[in-house]
């Protein structure tokens, strides 16, 4: 059985602790663990951002992230996966998301992490709003993200 961890939380996370935790729940020692961390950027479309607020659909979010993780472990020989996504108001440079996958060899770990991020971007019900000057502006979905997902089909 592949171990799947999914967390949606306001709190920050410590990368090393989360990686150690993922490793510890794998039934064999993973020879490879790949992780991706997303951060709040300071500029969007040339405009300076002060904060980023993330809203989500409780219940559906966890379900979609679990489905994405399980789909990844059907495509690659994984030992464990981890997705943590934050919500609420974040500052520039804050951590937003962590996706990681553990496997015996690196290729599966690299690809599965990228796959999980591509699907998370287009299927997990999160919405970002950027604070620009004194306005909150909803971020628009990008076609590139849809295309990135489609390459795994």
């Amino acid at each position: 059985m592949v171990r799947v961890i999914v967390r949606v939380q306001k709190e920050n996370f410590i990368l090393q602790n989360e990686i150690d935790n993922l490793k510890s729940i794998c039934k064999e020692i993973p020879g490879a663990l790949s992780s991706f961390v997303g951060y709040v950027r300071d500029f969007s479309n040339g405009k300076k951002i002060s904060t980023l607020t993330i809203e989500h659909y409780p219940g559906m979010t966890e379900k979609m992230l679990t489905d994405i993780s399980k789909n990844a472990s059907q495509k690659w020989p994984l030992l464990g996966t981890l997705i943590i996504h934050r919500f609420g108001t974040l500052n520039v440079n804050d951590q937003i998301v962590l996706a990681a996958s553990a496997s015996i060899h690196r290729k599966a770990a690299f690809e599965a992490t990228e796959y999980m991020m591509d699907y998370l971007k287009t299927s997990a019900p999160f919405w970002k709003s950027e604070r620009v000057n004194k306005d909150n502006v909803w971020v628009e979905a990008k076609l590139d993200d849809e295309l990135a997902k489609d390459r795994w089909k």
Binding site: G38, I54, E55, H56, Y57, G59, M60, K63, H85, I96, V97, M117, L120, K121, T122, S123, A124, P125, F126, W127, K128, S129, W138, V139, E140, A141, D145
Partner: protein
Amino acid sequence: MKILYFSWLKEKVGKSLEEIEKPNEVHNIKDLIGFLKNSSTKHQNAFKYPKSIKVAVNKEFADFETLINEKDEIAFFPPVTGG
């Protein structure tokens, strides 16, 4: 039925949740959007461009042809932007 709104749809409708009794003439999501549009000018404005709106029924992605029942939880939202 429980109807949820997220992101700019929530702002345009002016609420995040409403509960309504399923009207007899509403069978699928498309019918429901038609019904909601007639319920207020805010709804009419929110659903002005239905092609830019995604829908989930009971926390699963659905489409405008998906059939719905009295006990369903239906969520309307713009394309997602997490990550």
